[in-house]
Chain length 344, copies 2
Amino acid sequence: MIIDCHGHYTTAPPEHDDWRTAQIAAFESGQAPPAPPAISDDQIRESVLTGQIKVQQERRTDLTIFSPRASGMAHHIGDAAVSARWSTMCNTLIHRVCTLFPRNFVGVCQLPQSPGVAPANCIPELERCVLEYGFVGCNLNPDPSGGYWTDPPLTDRWWYPLYEKMVELDVPAMVHVSSSCNPNFHATGAHYINGDTTAFMQFLTSNLFHDFPTLKFIIPHGGGAVPYHWGRYRGLAQDMKLPLLTEHLLQNVFFDTCVYHQAGTELLAKVIPVKNILFASEVIGAVRGIDPESGHHYDDTRRYIDAVPWLNDFDRQDIYEDNARRVYGRLSAQISRQFSVGNR
Amino acid sequence: MIIDCHGHYTTAPPEHDDWRTAQIAAFESGQAPPAPPAISDDQIRESVLTGQIKVQQERRTDLTIFSPRASGMAHHIGDAAVSARWSTMCNTLIHRVCTLFPRNFVGVCQLPQSPGVAPANCIPELERCVLEYGFVGCNLNPDPSGGYWTDPPLTDRWWYPLYEKMVELDVPAMVHVSSSCNPNFHATGAHYINGDTTAFMQFLTSNLFHDFPTLKFIIPHGGGAVPYHWGRYRGLAQDMKLPLLTEHLLQNVFFDTCVYHQAGTELLAKVIPVKNILFASEVIGAVRGIDPESGHHYDDTRRYIDAVPWLNDFDRQDIYEDNARRVYGRLSAQISRQFSVGNR
């Protein structure tokens, strides 16, 4: 089985985003949000059959760990109540996708974060999604301000109540920023990658995994700049008299394969241990074109992994499936549950 | 000749930083700054003979393009007057180093930036350093706020007066942030790398080099995350219907080789054209230890370049010398001038 651990519902029916627009307008004018939109099962089927499932079939992948559109989270808009209402609607929509296509999608939730609001407020929605919907993880935004980085680092005790619940539920978080309202940062070209690099360095300079030995994070987009600067990070840790990164972080921190060229993927596979790499494509995501140099989609990451010459079948089994089953502690049981039902 | 385009005076005599501490304290208590410290030529000689020149000799490099300590710029501290005074002192000290060792160092200046203050205020100091001191470039901080990114992007007209002067003087800028006062960002592990990535994406999404066809920037630290995500950047540009990056940016944007492991350096040399790569080590800089995997210093970047199997002598001549002479338009004349004098 080939599991893509990083897919967002970027093709949701337009009524969903229209509601969000209306919600924001209502907030700004001090009115109550509108009633939820009516979105039919057929609309949802259409949106993924022509989108993510079509791509799964074309690229011979099996299952996508699926979450709301990352740029749509926009935790900096409105307040905690606005964020909570929007998160609930997004997560419920993901649940409907997973219910309609239980052999194609397993859910991961958006959290109702809001700048300056303690992350403990996310616990009820996380519990709801994991316990009621069978979701296997969450997306955690290290910068709810949307590019001004005004909340404490991920290693601050500010975040600990949420981590306690993640550990209790045995769910990891993908560290994933949302859109940027700071004109300095292009979202998918700078803010996303910076968020990844920043989170890794926060982990490196902390004792977080001493406090939470079983807490797990996936850093997306191939780990931001981290594998490219692996020597820098090993050297910085050494100068700080820290343990080797393999001991200090790599029991808890994992990287996805959303790197959109062969040379970058090979660097990832060369410097990061195979056990820490999870297959992902971000499909349908930030980059949608066909690379004229290869003749294939930039984000057809399976081709890159398949073409790394020194990986053997056992390595690929780890990257494509087994690592995801280890990192997402509830995934195997959830797959069994969902596969016993079948697509509707 | 082997030219290292990225060296900072991290070993300045302690009186220099002591004065800075006193300057900040005076500003905070509303008093006049103290008198400049007395730093002797012998102190300066000692500081580089046991530091940067020793490393040059050990690693068989010839000339360092030398600027004040990047983390020391700290443009977010004080106000424009504080920044101006500190920049003048830092640049004057660099000039003294270059005067004492004209065969080892050519100067690049710090700019008196200050958050919220128009960069045009940097023009007099840039002119002074280039015209009086023979400096060949400047370090430009894309985030004078120190990690909150509150000023306009580098592509905003806010910066244009400074760019006009850079073009007139034929000096490039290295895009280099300073220390971070935002607890989210470790300086050398996150803020530096993020600054590089951010600047590149600002350039990508702009028409800056249409407006300034001869303006040149060096992005340090191997270009941040950019080469690792080169497919992402090519794909994003393609989705935006922009020209190929080679045409759109690579006449104006260059990358240094401050990447501290062999695999990362090989990625850089694989995806970025040789003409866009300038040798650099950041010595004595962010990472000071010896890599137990190689037995050599992490920042001994010459070893990595020498070991890239597919580079030939012409490529290395470009990377080690000729590209720097092209990008720093005043460098060759300045080298001739300084070498005609000789070390004192």
